[in-house]
């Protein structure tokens, strides 16, 4: 197990370097960011030259990348074009996004698994069809549609929940964006759980457990659910990264100033340090989540061993 973890950690190094270099090249390939800073106006040549120099834009790309990476390992993610250090932006953004991700994750886990179990246990019945149709709906409607609709009806028309997130980021303000963000993944979780449950419910060990006279509750929660959750855990694990990075639309709609918001602004203003910095952190999140998922397999299914 220990050796496996070390091997995986070592594998992460080239992946990390590769992804960050790619994103670095892609962001800088967008063209000269200095021209965009001045609006419809041609920049004053002296000022533009000074800005270019201070951003190392005159150096070759590989040298810019090395300087940037050297900075990162000293905890310096560069400075955004509005003069704030990117690390400070991260300090503001990540807590907000993590809160939203947790809310969405809990909704997704609880509701998704519950729906999946119910549907899988009663396969082919009305409730199963109901869940399938419902999830199909959720999957096919884009996030921004559900987002604006919920915001308008729940937030503005009925006034049941706040339509946007205030600066304090209170819990009740996160419910709506949480539901919207969880929506699509929730549908996948429900469907994965349903298929898995429906398959395993006919397996030998369930019959044995039932024959042993175990209470139905225990058969389902311990024997059935635990064995059916492996594909779901895979999905959920990778989804954490997805939730954090994919909240761009949701964060915009509900005005939550998190990672998605900073990325969106960074891209819009061609602000390379912000974009590369945030993506770098997200890459680490993805890698860690993947490793965690693989380790969780062993916990869920003792037959899986890592050496």
């Amino acid at each position: 197990m220990g050796r496996y973890v070390v091997r995986r950690l070592l594998q992460m190094v080239p992946v990390f370097i590769g992804t960050t270099f790619l994103i670095f090249v892609m962001v800088y390939a967008l063209g000269d960011p200095v021209a965009a800073m001045f609006g419809d106006r041609t920049p004053d040549p002296a000022t533009a030259a000074q800005i270019r120099e201070s951003l190392h834009l005159n150096d070759p790309l590989w040298s810019q990348y090395l300087q940037y990476m050297a900075g990162i390992f000293q905890g310096d993610f560069g400075t955004a074009f509005n003069g704030r250090p990117v690390i400070e932006l991260m300090g503001d953004a990540f807590p907000n996004t993590i809160q939203l991700t947790l809310v969405a994750f809990v909704i997704e886990l609880v509701v998704g698994v519950a729906l999946g179990v119910v549907a899988g246990m009663r396969r082919g019945r009305l409730i199963d069809t109901g869940v399938l149709v419902l999830t199909l709906f959720v999957i096919s409607i884009p996030t921004f549609v559900t987002g604006y609709l919920l915001q308008y009806f729940v937030g503005v028309k009925w006034g049941a929940l706040p339509p946007s997130v205030s600066t304090e980021v209170r819990f009740e303000e996160l419910i709506l964006p949480g539901i919207v963000l969880a929506g699509v993944s929730l549908a996948y979780v429900a469907r994965l759980t349903r298929t898995s449950i429906a398959e395993n419910i006919r397996s030998d060990y369930i019959r044995t457990a039932t024959a042993k006279g175990l209470p139905r509750r225990r058969v389902i929660s311990v024997h059935l659910l635990r064995n059916s959750l492996i594909p779901v855990v895979t999905f959920l694990g990778t989804d954490i990264g997805g939730l954090m990075a994919g909240a761009i639309v949701t964060e915009r709609i509900f005005n939550l100033q998190g990672v998605g918001y900073q990325l969106y602004q960074g891209i819009l203003r061609q602000n390379a340090p912000t974009v590369v910095g945030f993506v770098t952190v997200l890459v680490v999140v993805f890698l860690a989540a993947n490793l965690l998922v693989d380790l969780l397999y062993a916990v869920l299914d003792p037959r899986i061993r890592y050496a």
Binding site: G31, A35, A36, F81, R84, G159, F171, V222, N255, Y261
Partner: protein, 542 residues
């Protein structure tokens, strides 16, 4: 046993989620204080330094916290003395500026001639990387503090001289009678000593001499402004403060406006314009702003620079049904253009309703004839380049191409040419890589016709994107600049504008409107010449 453990996991996760989110649960919303105007805001693109703020969101704050030498009347756009006691000149080149006595910054520091001179020197020096530095380019010595090549050889502008505590003189590189008009622009704001001694502290909580003072500033989130007790000017706030809340999406801000969470929104989402009047029960205004949209051509080389092509350009201009585009695409939030300035200037500052005349009026038959007379489109084709990343230019570009194609009876004569990013679009223009038409827009810095002509059409000017050059035009600008009588100067500028139309250097399309909506909670909301709400005049209902 194992089942119990996994159950604790889930329970633990939920508990953590609730616990983390509950952390922010306490504390007040910060906006429900009586008498405070809650307004939507966008995160400023640059640090809040006057000479470094080029866009309207940062400008909004600077307008509130600074009292400049001049101010622009919110209704007429006319420039009046504000912090200046007098601005005098004998030769239209050296100006003597007297600052009113007894004015102070909100931290108690007295406002002196040095507050201005130091600020301007800071703004001009290239190593400070201030994006508005070109505003000081007309002052003598700018080529020393910001040389086009190499390092600055001086730290201060030689044209600025402090005479006494409240008087200083400005020497320009050439005559320019309308120069004082621009002194209401934020780049010319005075700065307190703290700006130079504790720069970071200053940016965390900017200090000014205007009607409002910054009470608290959470960067990227919100700013609270309260009336500045030390302010002695005429624009005393009629409310107890302004809370600016950052929104990334104007649709969300609009939802919050309807839900009563904010009071003023000055960037209504385009798709809501149609319903805004009824949604907001009439609390809605749409008026022309100091922003215009044109299409222009590369005129220094290539097919479009050949003689006769001005007829083709005129023909294209007449092929455009401006009225239909402004109504169909923009629901009346654009106004068809009749000149190269903007209606916010008023006739006094150079706006004209008929200077473009027939050339800007839709007339398909005449258009077709003109294009044919001029030799037709080069190679039978033209493209209109635009940046595709923001401001949705695609719709109007396609509509214009459609009009041109209809007139010529050729589906493929004109096509839009999207360029991925704004930065790329701008660098293609500055590097002279454009071969056919491209969009150009201008947002005024100060309400004066000069600002719509000199930077855009003078030979070698900073934003002369078409690289057009006309000696007669340049001479007229010079003549106008040295004309002491503003009325006569304006007339001369208009004569110069006519020359631009003779060559149809740029085809005026429409003026952008400023739009704003407000809640039932406030009244007396209006927009100034820069389409920024006049915050000092907003009254909050109790």
């Amino acid at each position: 046993m194992r089942g119990a453990r996994s159950a604790t996991w889930v329970a633990g996760a939920i508990a953590i989620a609730l616990g983390v989110t509950a952390c922010g649960g306490s504390g007040d919303s910060g906006g429900s204080e009586a008498g405070v105007v809650r307004s939507a805001w966008g995160d400023p693109q640059n640090p809040l330094e006057p000479a470094n703020t080029t866009e309207v969101q940062g400008g909004k704050v600077l307008d509130m916290i600074f009292q400049n030498l001049k101010k622009y009347d919110p209704k007429t756009g006319a420039a009046q003395n504000d912090a200046a006691e007098s601005i005098e000149t004998k030769d239209q080149q050296t100006f003597t500026i007297k600052v009113k006595k007894g004015l102070t910054f909100s931290n108690g520091e007295p406002l002196t001639a040095n507050s201005f001179v130091d600020a301007w020197n800071y703004g001009a020096l290239a190593t400070n990387q201030q994006k508005n530095s070109y505003f000081f380019a007309d002052i003598e010595g700018f080529d020393k503090v910001a040389p086009a090549k190499g390092k600055p050889t001086a730290k201060t502008l030689s044209g600025l001289k402090v005479v006494d505590d409240h008087t200083f003189t400005v020497k320009l590189t050439q005559k320019m009678s309308t120069w004082p008009v621009r002194l209401g622009y934020k780049a010319f704001a005075p700065l307190p000593k703290k700006f130079f001694t504790d720069h970071k502290g200053y940016l965390d909580k900017p200090i000014g001499n205007g009607p409002y003072a910054v009470d608290s500033y959470q960067k990227g989130t919100q700013m609270k402004l309260v009336p500045n007790k030390k302010y002695r000017g005429d624009d005393k706030p009629q409310n107890k403060g302004v809370l600016l809340k950052v929104y990334t999406d104007s649709n969300t801000a609009y939802s919050d406006l309807q839900a009563g969470n904010i009071d003023v929104l000055d960037s209504l989402p385009a798709e809501q314009i149609k319903n805004a009047k009824t949604d907001l029960q009439g609390n809605y205004v749409s008026q022309p702003a100091g922003i215009n949209q044109t299409i222009t051509f590369p005129l220094d080389k290539g097919a479009w620079s050949k003689p006769g092509m001005e007829k083709v350009r005129k023909g294209i201009s007449m092929a455009i049904d401006r009225k239909q585009i402004t109504e169909k695409i923009y629901n009346g939030t654009r106004t068809p253009a009749t000149d190269l300035t903007s209606p916010v200037l008023g006739a006094a500052n150079g706006y004209s309703k008929d200077i473009c005349g027939d050339a800007c009026t839709y007339n398909p038959t005449e258009a077709k004839k003109l294009i044919k007379d001029g030799g037709g489109l080069p190679g039978g084709k033209m493209t209109i380049s635009y940046n595709a990343d923001k401001d949705s230019h695609k719709e109007w570009v396609d509509a214009i191409c459609n009009s041109v194609n209809k007139v010529l009876g050729d589906d493929k004569a004109c096509v839009g040419n999207p360029v991925g990013t704004f930065g790329d679009f701008r660098s293609q223009i500055t590097k002279g890589e454009m071969t056919s038409a491209f969009r150009a827009g201008w947002q005024m810095d100060y309400p004066q016709i000069e600002n719509f002509l000199t930077p855009l059409y003078a030979t070698g000017a900073s934003s002369n994107d078409s690289h057009w050059s006309n000696k007669k035009f340049d001479d007229l600008l010079k003549q106008a600049a040295s004309e002491p009588d503003t009325k006569k100067a304006t007339k001369l500028y208009q004569d110069a504008e006519k020359l631009v139309f003779d060559d149809m250097v740029a085809i005026p399309l429409f003026y952008q409107n400023g739009v704003a909506g407000w809640s039932q909670n406030v009244s007396n909301v209006s927009l100034d010449a820069f389409s920024v709400p006049v915050y000092t005049q907003i009254k909050v209902k109790s």
